[in-house]
Structures are given as structure tokens and as C-alpha cells.
Subunit: 198 residues, 2 copies
């Protein structure tokens, strides 16, 4: 996850996502990103001539791709894949992090949405795209598990909505309670949506 042997450009995007996760977009400085990435300050204007806006947008895109790619890995971890099982894995990534490392970070896409949706159109679009590249794999996985095609998309949206909201509440409360709650309540609902093919 924290591969430090990437190019400096990639490291800066990654660091930006990390810092945005913790402090939000506005409170994350360019110099701070460079320092966190162990990259020279001069590289910022070289790799990101579009300035902070470009860097933030790429960080958001990175986060969306990361979340989308995780879906396949979650599925692989389940010996009997079900919609509820997938959701539980998605949430577990967060409970694990919070219990192991504290409640420092939230979802960078959420942070970008809150801070930039109204002020920076391109970042808003990047956030929407990130949600899409996250929802897509989830919906496809649901279909593969036997969820009727027309319900996969809506259920994927429900899963991600509940997860994002629970992340917010968990960070505010410094307690994973909200995360475990949405899992407990939603898992049976999700599993019931899969066509019984036993």
C-alpha cells in the first residue's frame, strides 16, 4: 500500500491523497505534500503545471481507482462470495484501519467533495468520476453474485452511501460503532437481494 519505490510524481499524488484524507483539501499545503512525499519542492510545478487543482484532482482519481481495484481483492478473499460478504469486507477495511491506526483519516473523495464541490468545478467532476469508478466494480460484482441487473446499481450506491456516512460518524465519534452497525443492518438486506441459486 505504501510503496515508496515509485516515481516522485506518483509519490506526490499518493501523499496528497493521504494528507487530504486527514486534514481536508484546503488545509493541505503544496509544500506539505512535497515534504511528505520526500520530493523536492521544485518538482511540484514541473509535474503539476496545473497547480494545486491538478494535484488534488489526480489524488481524487487515484483514490477512486484504488477503491475500485480493492473490490476484486475483497471478492477473492471470500470463499463464498455474497453481496453482504462484499459489503462486510469493504467496511472491514475501515474498521481495521481505525482500530489499528486511529481515526486520523477519512475518505479523500468525500473530503474533496465537501471542500471543492462548490468552489472548483473540475474537482467536483473528479469526485463524481471517482465515485463512478468505485460504484462500477461493486455493481458488477453484485450482478455476478446473482443480484438482478436492474438492482445492482442502486444497491451499490446504497452500499457506498452507507459506508461513507458511517465513516463520517465513526471519525466524529472516534468509534467504529457506526461502521459495525451499518454492516449488521445491511448484510441481510443485501444477501436477500441475491437470487437463491442453491
Amino acid at each position: 500500500m505504501a510503496q515508496s519505490e515509485r516515481g516522485p510524481r506518483e509519490r506526490m499524488v499518493f501523499s496528497a491523497a493521504q494528507l487530504i484524507r486527514r486534514e481536508g483539501v484546503a488545509a493541505t499545503g503544496m509544500r506539505e505534500v512535497a515534504a511528505h512525499a520526500g520530493a523536492p519542492r521544485g518538482s511540484l510545478q514541473h509535474y503539476f503545471p496545473g497547480g494545486k487543482e491538478q494535484l488534488v484532482n489526480e489524488a481524487v482519481g487515484w483514490a477512486g481507482r484504488y477503491a475500485g481495484n480493492r473490490v476484486a481483492r475483497f471478492l477473492a478473499a471470500l470463499d463464498e462470495p455474497t453481496p453482504g460478504g462484499l459489503f462486510a469486507e469493504m467496511v472491514r477495511q475501515w474498521t481495521d484501519e481505525y482500530e489499528a491506526a486511529g481515526f486520523a483519516g477519512g475518505c479523500p473523495v468525500a473530503a474533496a467533495t465537501v471542500d471543492c464541490a462548490e468552489s472548483t468545478e473540475s474537482t467536483r467532476e473528479a469526485a463524481a468520476a471517482a465515485f463512478a469508478t468505485w460504484t462500477g466494480p461493486v455493481a458488477r460484482a453484485l450482478t455476478d453474485m446473482g443480484v438482478p441487473g436492474e438492482r445492482s446499481g442502486p444497491l451499490a450506491t446504497l452500499m457506498i452511501s452507507a459506508l461513507e456516512g458511517a465513516i463520517l460518524i465513526a471519525r466524529a465519534e472516534r468509534d467504529v460503532r457506526a461502521l459495525t452497525t451499518v454492516v449488521r443492518e445491511l448484510v441481510p438486506v443485501l444477501d436477500a437481494a441475491a437470487v437463491k441459486a442453491d
Copy 2:
């Protein structure tokens, strides 16, 4: 909702919440709050000697109380109150606003959580308290509608999580789709949790 005949102090708290909703905490300036409230700049240090931190915390508290109080009003608007009906009303407040006035604003409590959870402990606590004063009335309403006591709290958390997440997605996409989706998917689930007392 936008009573301009309050004291200047109250107007500033209200304005702070409005601006935080749109731009986030970090991007909201003190001078901007005063201007938006039509209040003199000098009043800031008089009414809020604790500075921005105090103002933000009060705005978050105000938002929590506002959300909590709305619950009773939503219930009154339903001639046959059901859990799903309450949730639909809660979400409808947002779809109505977005369709009428655009996607400018999100939830101020979410914004405070994203921007301050890690940096400003007191604001994090204020956000947690706001979520609590919102969840409380919802859970009580569920119990009154026949939801078993031990499930009211979890279901209230689920409702608010899904709503908060859907608000994020809706703002990013500039589309109420996510909001209408969570309503459609969750209403039957919520109604099924109420004990049939016909």
C-alpha cells in the same frame, strides 16, 4: 428558516453554518461570516472570544439541533407515520433543496468532521454531539412507530449514514439520483422493522 430578525450573535452562528455547508470550514473566513450575517466585524471578537473554533463549534451545534428538531416536524407531516415514511421525509428535504436551489450546500456537520476531526478536537466533539442530537429523536420516533427498542438506535444510525453518504454523492454528481436511490432501497427495509400492529 432564514429569520433575519434575530440577534446579531445568532445570525452569525447561522451564517457560519450556511457558509461551512457550501465551502467547508477552512475556506470559510471570519470576515466572510460577519459580512454574510450583516453584522459588524468587531462583534466577532466580542461574541466569540474563543475565535473561529468557538464559532464553528456553535454552528455545528446549531445544525445538530436543527436536524433533531426537524424530526418532529417530519412526523407531523405524515398522516400515517412509518419508519420508511420518516426516512423519505428526511431525504426529501435535501432533494427539494437541490432541485430548487442547486447543489451548493452539503451537511455542515459532515464538513466540520472532514475538515476538523483530526486537527481540532473540540470541533470533533461538537460534531459527535451533533450526530447524537440528531440520531436521538430519530431513534425515539422509530420506537414510537413500533420498532423494537434494541433496533431503533442501529436503524437510526443506518438512516443517517445512508443520508450523509447520499448527500456527498449527490453533490459530487450534481444529481439527486443517489438520494432517491437510498430512499427506494431502504424504505421497505425500514418499514419491515416495525412490528405489525394492525
